[in-house]
């Protein structure tokens, strides 16, 4: 059902009891490109395979395992769950990202996870721009039993964040999750607004935000590089969430992102539901990229 079928069929078809030659390597490279690894990363991974196995007999399974291992090696260092620092009351998590990537939904999912872990969770409806963004977060608040600090649409987002942090602190919250409006990384004015939110938060707690999460949509191709680069530069993003991995997109761009930026990938989104947040596991992500998880 997934695009990995294509990948699996491809590798299976190409490598049944065959010597690893230029043609098979090229086809393999193409399969990785189709998983969004990008042409450079796909060439690198395939090149590594060629270096150690060229001209040798190799089975489809060996190929897949080799590739998955290579990719997992790159990803393993970034597979780190979000850990709250108990000394912060609250630990402030600012959620940022491009429009529609899953910020609000991810906050809802985290609220559930953290509440289940016994934490006192507060939410801040920092998207004061998009129509019904406040209501959307409020519904997540109701679903998870987390109080939501909100103002009317059009209110100053930085002011709202300030107020939310003061309230959450007074209430003894363990964690405050701040939603923000989606913005494209090339919009300087909007990026400045985000910096203003950070500056204002620091007036309440100079160490906050403790985590700045960037949500990336797995459907996104190579533009994810620019997203990570700019958001990291502008608001010191220090964690990633990859959403919509339940779809046919594999999110292979994460491999070169991991290599280039080394930012921890705290979790993945695998659906629209409240329980659809999963830890990021380097091995299984890599396995799924090359189609090793098929038939399980």
């Amino acid at each position: 059902s997934k695009s990995t079928n294509r990948l699996t069929d491809g590798i299976g078809g190409i490598f049944t009891k065959r010597k690893l030659d230029d043609e098979t390597l090229e086809e393999l490279e193409e399969l990785l490109i189709q998983a969004d690894l990008g042409p450079a990363m796909a060439a690198r991974v395939t090149g590594d395979l060629a270096k150690s196995r060229f001209g040798k007999e190799i089975s489809p399974d060996e190929v897949k395992r080799f590739l998955a291992d290579e990719i997992a090696k790159v990803l393993a260092p970034v597979a780190r769950p979000l850990v709250l620092d108990g000394s912060h009351k609250p630990h402030v998590v600012l959620v940022v990202g491009v429009n529609g990537t899953g910020k609000t939904t991810t906050i809802g999912k985290y609220a559930r996870e953290l509440r289940d872990a016994g934490k006192v969770v507060w939410l801040a409806a920092g998207d004061t721009f998009r129509a019904a963004a406040v209501s959307q977060l409020q519904i997540w608040g109701e679903r998870t039993g987390a109080p939501v600090v909100a103002k009317e649409t059009g209110a100053d987002a930085a002011g709202l964040a300030y107020e939310a942090l003061e309230k959450a602190r007074a209430a003894g919250a363990d964690v405050l999750l701040i939603d923000t409006a989606g913005r494209l990384q090339n919009k300087q004015g909007l990026m400045e607004e985000l910096r203003k939110i950070v500056r204002v938060i620091k007036k309440v707690d100079p160490t906050a935000p403790h985590t700045t999460l960037l949500t990336l949509d797995a459907t996104t191709g190579q533009n994810a590089h620019s997203q990570v680069e700019v958001f990291k530069e502008m608001v010191s993003v220090n964690g990633l969430i990859l959403t919509k991995l339940d779809g046919s997109a594999r999110g292979g761009v994460l491999v070169s992102l991991a290599q280039k930026f080394g930012l921890p990938v705290h979790a993945i989104g695998v659906g629209e539901g409240i329980d659809d947040l999963r830890p990021f596991d380097a091995q299984s992500f890599a396995a799924s990229l090359v189609g090793l998880d098929e038939g399980r």
Binding site: I33, A131, L184, A218, Q222, N223, K244, S248
Partner: protein, 307 residues
């Protein structure tokens, strides 16, 4: 990392400039760079391949080999072929049917359907003087129906009153009924986001299609889409039938190779571009602009003009 085609071809050009003419080998080398540039722009691999084949046929011709400035000729051929494959200038929304004309909005989660629905409603209202009704069939995402209602107020376009608990197919039927009874020209049907591989939700949208008979089924896709464009375009087109593409977030800095993929795989025109979050940020599609963007060369035209 994301060098435009000009950068990629730089070395080859230098060589050519010294020698003055293109060999078949040179064309091959240039096309390998074109391939990488397209892949970095997120054009889907199968589409890249057919593109390269098309360009090769043209580029190996006499014209290029004898050209005094063969490098620029290659770029011109690539650019022109891209423009050709991207299709004609904007065709507007087809309203050629008995009123109320149903228009179905389709796409993945978060692609920009609801925002685009309101933008199109505004366009039809102000430019074509149409009486437009919008209906949200999204009963799944929290506050989705409210979002469309608020946008309706912003653009002063009617939205179908929200009835709690109603399922999407029933809402669609009610929207068409209200559209008929109240004399609307167009009924825009905004649907919930769905994955191309979600059989259940794809079946649901097929049922919506079957009770409304949309004249336009517009696939709303994000300009940042990567290789998954293949699955999205194929599945939505095969299962529901797509009549046109709306590409959103073209105001970003993505190369937007998905435009070419969508166009090639569905064979349907790109009708409109979303150019911002604001409700008037909707523009006509111009293939030459998108071509320059995909190739990562704002300078393509000036370069070619010299050729």
């Amino acid at each position: 990392m994301f060098d435009g085609l000009t950068g990629r071809l730089g070395d080859i050009f230098d060589r050519l400039r010294r020698r003055g003419a293109l060999s078949e080998e040179d064309v091959g080398a240039a096309l390998r760079e074109v391939r990488v540039a397209l892949l970095e722009a997120d054009v889907a691999l199968p589409v890249v391949k057919s593109f390269i084949n098309g360009v090769k046929e043209k580029a190996v011709g006499q014209e290029v080999l004898r050209s005094i400035t063969p490098g620029q000729m290659v770029i011109k051929i690539v650019h022109d072929h891209l423009v050709e494959m991207l299709g004609a200038e904007s065709e507007g929304i087809n309203l050629n049917a008995e009123a109320p004309v149903p228009v179905l909005m389709l796409g993945l989660q978060g692609s920009g359907k609801t925002t685009s629905t309101a933008k199109i409603a505004r366009l039809l209202k102000t430019r074509e003087k149409k009486k437009v009704l919008m209906a949200s069939l999204d009963t799944r995402r929290p506050a989705a129906q409210e979002q469309l209602r608020i946008l309706g107020e912003q653009v002063d376009v009617a939205t179908l009153p929200i009835v709690a608990g109603e399922d999407p197919v029933t809402i669609a039927q009610r929207a068409m009924r209200v559209g008929r009874l109240e004399g609307y020209d167009v009924v825009l049907l905004d649907t919930a986001g769905r994955l191309a591989i979600d059989e259940e939700l794809m079946d649901e949208v097929v049922r919506i299609r079957d009770v409304t008979h949309p004249v336009e089924s517009l696939l709303v896709v994000d300009a940042m889409t990567g290789q998954d464009a293949v699955t999205v375009a194929t599945n939505f087109n095969d299962k529901v039938g797509v009549t046109g593409i709306v590409m959103t977030r073209i105001d970003g800095d993505a190369r937007g190779g998905a435009a070419l993929s969508m166009r090639q795989i569905t064979g349907r025109p790109i009708k409109l571009l979303g150019t911002g979050e604001k409700i008037d940020a909707l523009e006509a599609f111009h293939p030459d602009r998108i071509a320059g963007r995909i190739l990562g060369m704002g300078d393509v035209l000036s370069l070619v003009e010299k050729a």
